[in-house]
Amino acid sequence: MVDVSSATRGDLRLTRITKSYGDFTAVDDLSLTIPEGSFFALLGPSGCGKTTTLRMIAGLEEPTVGSIHLGTTDITTKRPYQRPINTVFQNYALFPHLTIFENIAFGLRRRGIKSVDADVNKVLDLVELPHLAQRKPTQLSGGQQQRIALARAIVNRPALLLLDEPLGALDLKLRRQMQIELKWIQREVGLTFVHVTHDQEEAMTMADTIAVMNEGGIEQMGSPADLYDNPKTAFVANFLGQSNLIKGRIEGTAGDNLVVDLYGQKISMPKSRSHAVDSSIYAGIRPEKFRISLVGTPTRGNVLSGGHIEEVSYIGVSTQYQVAMPWGQELMVFEQNDDGVPPFDKGDQVVISWEPNFTFALRGDEDVEAGTEVAPDDLDEDE
């Protein structure tokens, strides 16, 4: 029996965790600290090891090597019911033979709490479904089941709440609504949430901190803005949104800036945003950071000239251009439709410019396709 209220709280620390199934290594030497009270996301494509990591935290799998601490307590080998940790399962896993009330009361009753009514009703109010208490799970819609699964977990006020692709089964509109609601509930109850997802937009909307996972390890960890604006690897640059990665060479330094040669054209960028190990780099710029101007009109910041518009797609909030550059690469540019009609036509000779501070640099030996071949939307997580 776990007395959750007085159980150890604090940061969750995973130390050098490895999980192998025979020859296959699902999680490879992973170390991670999840601060108490945070909304933390494990983001990555199918098979990256994020669900396995979550299951090890929950106690449903045991790591092959490594340790897991909650605060100062070692919970590596504790059974799931001995941990003050609760999970919202991917398909909710509500008990079909119990009413909604009994589903929510399940954890409290197993911990030997006699009077459960007040607690259960409180969380039913929190998820705004008090009228469904006497129904059976099959009588509820997907969105309602999702909320009950959440209520069933948070009623125990665990030190850690794990969410395994909790919104995967919902349609887009409901998912958006639940994203905001989950964030609100997390603030309301003040628990640590660990959220596993393959949906980068979902992770960025909800989490304070995101750990991007790939092939059993963490690629990069940081706030959504950090990861988006200053990715360290091509995988992160491509998995979170789209990036233009241009092959280049560091020519020298000028104060706090690097001078970079991109196919004969010089640009500058802050030293601090370079993750390169030698002079060979990929310069990265997000499509919406680019500006397009016709040849001969004034520009500022970094400039790449010699391009022409190859493709124009009008998508409402913005217009997307493919700009063919002299070295054969097509760069993607997103322009806000501030002034209505798309101002550039296919074939226009243009110059691309951007603020030097938006540039990031990756190692020159990176695979520029990393993270692009997985279309995050049609993945069904079943590791």
């Binding site: 029996m1 776990v2 929950a58 106690g59 449903l60 059974r79 799931p80 019911y81 940790i85 609760n86 999970t87 399962f89 991917q90 398909n91 896993a93 509500l94 008990f95 079909p96 033979h97 399940f106 954890g107 197993r110 911990r111 059976k136 799970p137 099959t138 069933r152 977990a153 125990n156």
Partner: protein
């Protein structure tokens, strides 16, 4: 609304309409004949339970309720029925407990020889009853056990277990393992998880298996005939009296059993509707 024939609207030819009607109703026609075929013998049995027959119940001689008022009227019939029910109940209890445990072992745990056990469990189902019955008898005789009540019970458990295992295993296979994980996640230890989640969800399968075991045991003739010695069971009674003419009371008991089974199945359907297992 006036119905004026508009020559510009093309009409569907009669032949096409007929074949469409036939296509739409084919399943109903098929079902009608199928059920007729299945239920004529039952209806016949039920009807002749009201026959004022006397000794032989082959020709309709007039309607009477006296068979239903006195089902034990034929000599020995209720002793035979009692034996069948007793054997059936004991065999059901043992085979259900044993079979459920085997089903959990095979359905849930990876152990050496699991697929072999899985196969062996099917063998009693596949073995011809006449072979099983005769072998069991010779086995009992080798151990100097005389045929009678308990050897019959043991023989029935042997063939009922397979059916219980298959039925319960199907239910276990359809159980989402995440439900048990969720229970453990919610502070239920292994025993509480089994007691509060696994067992209630598998229960309909166990109940179905028990009903199946009972009905298999109740109407078994071949294996029983080998192993029961002088003990009379209901099927044996019917078989023996067939030579002299089956009394109408046999029809009464047969019909009563049919309606009882029907009632149980309907009740089961109603209950399972309430405790449906989601995928």
């Amino acid at each position: 609304m006036t119905k004026v024939k508009d020559a510009t609207i093309p009409t569907i030819p009669v032949q096409a309409r007929l074949s469409r009607w036939f296509g739409r109703n084919l399943i109903r026609i098929y079902a009608f004949f199928g059920f007729t075929y299945l239920f004529i013998p039952v209806a016949y049995t039920f009807a002749f339970s009201f026959n004022d027959s006397g000794k032989s119940n082959l020709i309709w001689k007039g309607f009477t309720l006296k068979n239903w008022q006195n089902p034990c009227g034929a000599p020995e019939i209720c002793t035979a029925l009692g034996n069948s029910i007793k054997i059936g109940l004991i065999a059901t209890i043992f085979s259900t407990i044993l079979g459920t445990m085997i089903a959990f072992a095979i359905g849930r745990y990876a152990f050496k020889g699991r697929s072999t056990s899985n196969l062996l469990i099917f063998l009693p189902m596949a073995t011809p009853e006449i072979v099983l019955g005769a072998s069991l008898l010779s086995l009992f005789l080798v151990f100097q056990i005389n045929p009678g009540f308990w050897p019959t019970v043991i023989a029935h458990v042997v063939f009922c277990v397979s059916f219980v295992v298959v039925t319960v295993k199907a239910r276990i296979a359809s159980l989402d393992p995440r439900l048990e994980q969720a229970a453990m996640d919610l502070y239920a230890n292994e025993f509480q998880t089994f007691r509060r989640v696994t067992l209630p969800l598998v229960a309909p399968g166990i109940a179905a298996a028990a009903l199946l075991a009972f009905s298999l045991s109740f109407d078994d003739f071949i294996i029983t005939n080998f192993n029961s010695g002088t003990l009379t069971t209901f099927p044996k009674f019917v078989y023996v009296s067939a030579a002299r003419g089956i009394p109408a009371q046999a029809n009464v008991i047969g019909s009563a059993m049919f309606f009882l089974a029907l009632a149980i199945v309907i009740a089961g359907q109603l209950i399972s509707k309430k405790t449906k297992v989601t995928k």
